[in-house]
């Protein structure tokens, strides 16, 4: 019996070392799985990051339901739906980008990534329009807030019953959460688009179509995660009791 623990293992020297295999991994497969697992763990932290906001949302929505309804009705359902569709499209283009990388198609990869950037920018643009509108309507808590629209609904929202002043004041909580949640989401989008810009340049140089596409794959995970967050934000913020 060989009781030696530190036995000599045949060096993995007979395999070729692709240039992208980092020294502390034994195989490309191990490297790829490691990177993907790391990315998933990072997304886990992101779930909890947004988790705090969702908890706050849930509590206040139960407390101040009429204020949340009224606040929600101030959002443009058209822009919200548009943005949801845009983000889903961008998720699709990203998935296709990952596919192109898997197939080692360089130009399609660049194309899909550019499409994703474009859609991401459209999303952020629409978001900016919405934020601007909120500013004009004095719905930015802390900086520029007035309950005027809720205590005395304007002509535009004639069918809206006015909120009693105590409840109208609570719309500030709704808009605080609206800006915190969509703001954090938009921040993730901005970070995502910035990374995409780098990826496009490198993809054009052929970095991800030579067999090593972990970066694209992991970025895809991030992008889809940001999409998922929006998939929840949309009904929670825009669609509260629209039938009223």
């Amino acid at each position: 019996m060989d009781s030696q623990a530190i036995a000599t293992q045949p060096e993995h020297g007979h395999e070729e070392h692709p240039p992208y295999l980092r020294h502390h991994f034994a195989t490309v497969e191990q490297q790829r799985e490691t990177a993907s697992f790391g990315m998933w763990l990072f997304l886990l932290t992101e779930i909890m990051f947004f988790g705090g906001l969702f908890t706050a949302y849930l509590i206040y929505r139960n407390w101040y339901y009429p204020a949340f309804v009224a606040g929600s009705h101030q959002l443009s359902i058209f822009l919200g739906t548009l943005n949801t569709a845009v983000l889903i499209c961008s998720s699709f283009t990203m998935a296709m980008g990952v596919h192109a990388a898997e197939m080692k198609w360089r130009k399609p990869l660049v194309g899909w990534l550019l499409a994703t950037i474009f859609l991401g920018c459209v999303f952020l643009g629409v978001k900016a329009v919405e934020y601007h509108e909120k500013w004009e309507k004095h719905h930015v808590p802390g900086l520029n807030f007035s309950t005027q629209d809720f205590t005395h609904p304007s002509a535009q929202y004639k069918e809206e019953p006015p909120l009693p002043p105590d409840m109208a004041a609570k719309t500030q909580v709704y808009f605080s959460l609206y800006f915190a949640m969509t703001g954090m989401h938009a921040l993730h989008m901005i970070i995502g688009v910035s990374i995409l810009l780098v990826l496009v340049v490198r993809a054009w140089a052929g970095a991800y179509t030579a067999g090593h596409m972990t970066t694209i794959e992991n970025f895809g995970l991030y992008w889809h995660f940001v999409d998922i967050v929006w998939i929840f934000l949309f009904p929670l913020l825009y669609l509260i009791s629209r039938h009223q």
């Binding site: 990051f49 706050a56 500030q172």
Partner: protein, 555 residues
């Protein structure tokens, strides 16, 4: 084997450090600051957390000096508030959370699992830089005039009623949080994906298990703190209304979110320390840890239950009493795994062959002090008892028994234990035993009176107090002085030993871990060849069959 000690140092005249090691692989500042080597990053971390430990320690000294007299005479009350806030922030976020994982863990986990490095070396380096940024922000908050929220950042005090540098300190903690997330993430991935052939989960050293459990808490808990701090900063900076009662927010929600992280954070701090104790006790009693599986799973159980008990910090804060019942019950459950660990360590000594090197002395100190810390935790988890004890010096004594008596003892134990591996040189044994003794005595003198003064009702965070508490406070301050000496000593002699310590050799403790089978200090790539593991952890019979020169050395 009749020598009193198991340290078998190579003869001094012939001994020398290995020619090539991670320490002399490359030279120059750049080779350190841009390194990807987990061992060098561990050393960077060690230097920086020591720096912050002494800043935090200086703050502690000031606190104790102020409390020497009942009046607020050494410093004004607001200065005192800033001092204890800084003490808390620095000690919790910049020392205790990264202490064992980022230094000892960073150094050893890849070696213990038989890997060449952590899974993401660059992320590891990034984590250190984030830590340094966090430290800079915190120091900036300190230098610009301080912050006086207490480390708990209670709203609405922190959001609306203070004009100190809350945002700067908050950003510091936010960044420190990401530093610890990255460390935890790296550990989990490494432990899952980078184990050497044959290194199954149940052959892992318990140090790895406990760091794994702590990493889970870091990864899942810290982001909640991050978003909470973001909300506090937004509320303070632009006045959104999530926690502000005047705008309809619930200040208690802040407490919920804050403690959702900060209670598990307590386990982030203590679990890696428990891992150190498992290694040390096993090594110096020459036995496998009694009930390996129980100890391993108790770490994981602590991590899991750790997420279910946070509201026990809020029993008197207006949390619903039904909810308090649930959280109190769950708190009682989380106490059990800690008890299991203590008993298993004690049972490990049974029929061992025990020697009393410095790490072992610290480990004994840990066991005693952590038992007190843990049991007083049961006092506080018990609803009715908590009413009288919470927010008094009793709770201060309790968490210092766990954090300082437990965690810091474990840290020092681990530093002494692995010092020969990290540096290739031994620390001076007699002096270090003296330091361990001084620390133990100083610690008890400092914190034991605080239990009594706490039951008397002395509130925490008081710059002045009624005169009848003075005797106990003077005892405590006297103890702190002794404790300070106990911490300065290792600092001095360990630095001294870097140049003058005896050459340690590969395995001075005759321990079984993979880290002891390679040269000290290790090579940059840790192993010459990927090890294949065919025995369980702490298998001293296997070790007995190894001969000296079978260990890998590059000459």
């Amino acid at each position: 084997m009749s020598t009193a000690t198991i340290v078998k140092l190579p003869p001094q005249e012939t001994a020398s450090l290995p020619k090539r090691s991670y320490l002399n692989n490359e030279y120059g500042l750049k080779s350190w600051l841009l390194t990807g080597d987990h061992k060098r990053i561990a050393i960077l971390y060690l230097i920086s957390i020591t720096f912050f430990f002494f800043i935090g320690g200086a703050m502690a000294g000031l606190i104790r000096l102020e409390l020497l007299t009942p009046q607020s005479d050494l410093m004004a009350m607001d200065t005192y508030n800033k001092v204890f806030t800084m003490h808390g922030i620095i000690m919790v976020f910049l020392f205790l959370v990264p202490s064992v994982p980022a230094t000892i863990g960073n150094f050893l986990i890849p070696i213990m699992v038989g890997a060449k490095d952590l899974a993401f070396p660059k992320v590891n380096l990034l984590s250190w830089y984030l830590y340094i940024f966090a430290g800079c922000f915190t120091l900036a908050a300190l230098i610009l005039g301080g912050v006086d929220t207490g480390w708990t950042f209670t709203t609405p005090l922190s959001t609306h009623y203070l004009n100190t540098h809350v945002i700067t300190a908050g950003l510091g903690i936010f960044i420190a949080g990401f530093s610890s997330i990255f460390t935890g993430l790296n550990f989990i991935v490494t432990i899952h994906r980078m184990r050497a052939p044959g290194m199954t989960w149940f052959r892992l050293p318990l140090f790895v298990w406990s760091n794994y459990a702590a990493s889970i808490l870091m990864v899942l808990g810290t982001p909640v703190l991050a978003i909470t701090l973001v909300l506090v900063i937004l509320e303070r900076a632009i006045g959104i209304g999530v926690f502000d009662p005047a705008k309809g927010g619930d200040p208690l929600l802040f407490q919920h979110l804050f403690w959702f992280y900060s209670h598990p954070a307590v386990y982030i701090m203590i679990l890696p320390g428990m891992g150190v104790i498992s290694e040390v006790i096993s090594t110096f009693s020459r036995k496998r840890v009694f009930g390996y599986t129980a100890v391993a799973f108790s770490s994981v159980a602590i991590a899991v239950f750790g997420f279910f008990v946070w509201a026990h910090h809020m029993f008197i804060m207006g949390v619903s009493n039904y909810s308090a019942l649930v959280f109190s019950l769950l708190t009682m459950l989380v106490a059990v795994p800690s008890a299991i660990k203590i008993f298993n360590w004690a049972a490990t000594l049974y029929k061992g062959s025990i020697t009393f090197e410095t790490p072992m002395l610290y480990a004994f100190g840990f066991m005693g002090l952590f038992t007190i810390g843990g049991l007083t935790g049961v006092f506080l988890g018990s609803l009715g008892m908590d009413i009288h004890l919470t927010e008094t010096y009793f709770i201060v004594a309790h968490f210092h028994f766990v954090m300082v008596g437990g965690m810091l003892m474990a840290f020092l134990s681990g530093i002494h234990f692995w010092w020969p591996k990290m540096t290739g040189r031994m620390y001076p044994e007699a002096l270090s035993k003296l330091a361990a003794l001084i620390t133990f005595i100083g610690f008890n003198l400092t914190f034991f009176p605080q239990f009594i003064v706490g039951y008397l009702g002395m509130p925490r965070r008081y710059a002045s107090y009624p005169p009848e508490f003075q005797v106990l406070n003077v005892l405590s301050t006297a103890g702190a002085t002794v404790l300070g000496v106990g911490y300065l000593l290792p600092m001095i002699y360990l630095t001294w030993s870097l140049k003058h310590g005896k050459i340690a050799g590969n395995n001075p403790w005759q321990a079984t871990g993979l880290e002891w089978q390679i040269q000290s200090p290790p090579l940059t790539e840790n192993f010459v060849e990927t090890p294949i593991v065919d025995h369980e952890a702490y298998d001293y019979e296997w070790l007995a069959h190894q001969t000296e020169h079978e260990v890998q050395t590059v000459g």
